[in-house]
Symmetry: D2
Subunit: 142 residues, 4 copies
């Protein structure tokens, strides 16, 4: 059985199309990277986000903030660390750190809310709760 | 009653995020503009593409080609002309021209196929056929 | 002479490519809209951001936060209001509101820093300062 | 010394932001993948495209065509094969194939032209020509 994890890292190489006329990774693209980080964090817990959606469960972004400390360029390989800061049956808070060679380039945080097909908030089913939180220890990750 | 039209034009101002490190409109973004042109061409015929999808009808892109003749830059306002070249019950061919101050910058063509919710080709219902082709004159637009 | 303004609004129609599999405007795309709002706010003051860059002046995003209150869908026309909350010689704070039919859908804020070609912070030249702040009244917009 | 290669493959996992309301990989995004394929094909020859640009050499897309044979969905891992079909001192033709589990999903072709900082066509310097074509065998790759 896969044990729930709180953090994962993923290496991302910046595509040319993701840069702007300034030559840097465009600031909107960071949110796309963060989303990729969340997908991989779920996968590390044995959950495929695609399967959630097929069951009619959708995590929608309620808020996000980003601090851009140093620019990132085309072809750079950066490391994104995604951490679950708090998980409840209806929402989840994540934090993000992007580094290159150990230097912190970007920080971010987000809050997602779980909704059903009707777009209304719903709660995480028990099986998924177990996979994300652990079965024996039912306490929130924080 | 709205008369079917074969061509429409739309003016588009290039956003900063749509450029790349070379300072030009990124070549993938042209396909996004073409898609916007198709939406507006349908609207000029009185058809909202969003309503098509709510009825379970989806136009999927089967092929596309683009010739990039001259670059386009951030904050440029370009004119996109979208033309229906051929319309049958299951597919539609469009051509595209992007100009600025009358100078031709880009040409493109695409073929779309109409599919249902199951992803299989289907045929245009009679009411939509009438709006896109005209009621009295049922001959294809070409 | 164009008088400096603190706020502008721009109407934006959501493109199909800007939506995701959930059927909503993707949350990263909001930052692209905010950027478009800033371009138009500068233009309303008689300043073209493209000209700034040709003079070697670049506004880079230092931080941003967004609260997503209600979803936005393909083909929706939304109104983005962009406001300069604070302008100093080296940085500018903006706030953003997206509404549809008067209903507030999204709120955001950002801080931009002015840098030169070397990527180091620099100060706004006097002529631009005059256009953005007014000549007679040199006090910051806040 | 690295031997010039004609083809490389790269595996790509589809990000959520790259899908559209239909639930499929948006057709414009394929051009972004193709570009990633070209970057990796150059790298396999020992050439970093970023270094080309720092030397004032830019490959701009002159034309592209794509045939979409079967849809691709979020979280799918697809294999992109990029092949240099023809290389001359001023232009390069590539072909592309996207497959999943051996099934052909997409085909494409592009022509790129080498330009200098002034945007005018230029020729590949000898050192790069050697890396891309081989030193002993100076014949074009086709």
């Amino acid at each position: 059985m896969i044990k729930p994890v709180r953090s994962t890292t993923v290496d991302i190489r910046v595509r040319y199309a993701e840069t702007d006329a300034m030559g840097y990774l465009h600031h909107a693209q960071y949110l796309v990277y963060f989303e990729q980080g969340r997908t991989e964090l779920l996968r590390a817990c044995g959950v495929r986000y695609r399967d959630l959606e097929e069951r009619g469960l959708f995590y929608v972004v309620a808020k996000v903030d980003v601090q851009f400390r140093a620019p990132i360029r085309y072809d750079d390989v950066v490391t994104l660390k995604t951490t679950t800061e708090r998980l409840t049956p209806v929402r989840v808070d994540h934090s993000y750190e992007i580094t290159r060679s150990g230097k912190l380039l970007t920080e971010g945080r987000s809050t997602l809310v779980l909704v059903g097909r009707d777009g209304r908030p719903t709660t995480l089913p028990d099986d998924l709760r177990g996979m994300l939180l652990g079965v024996a220890d039912d306490s929130p990750l924080d």
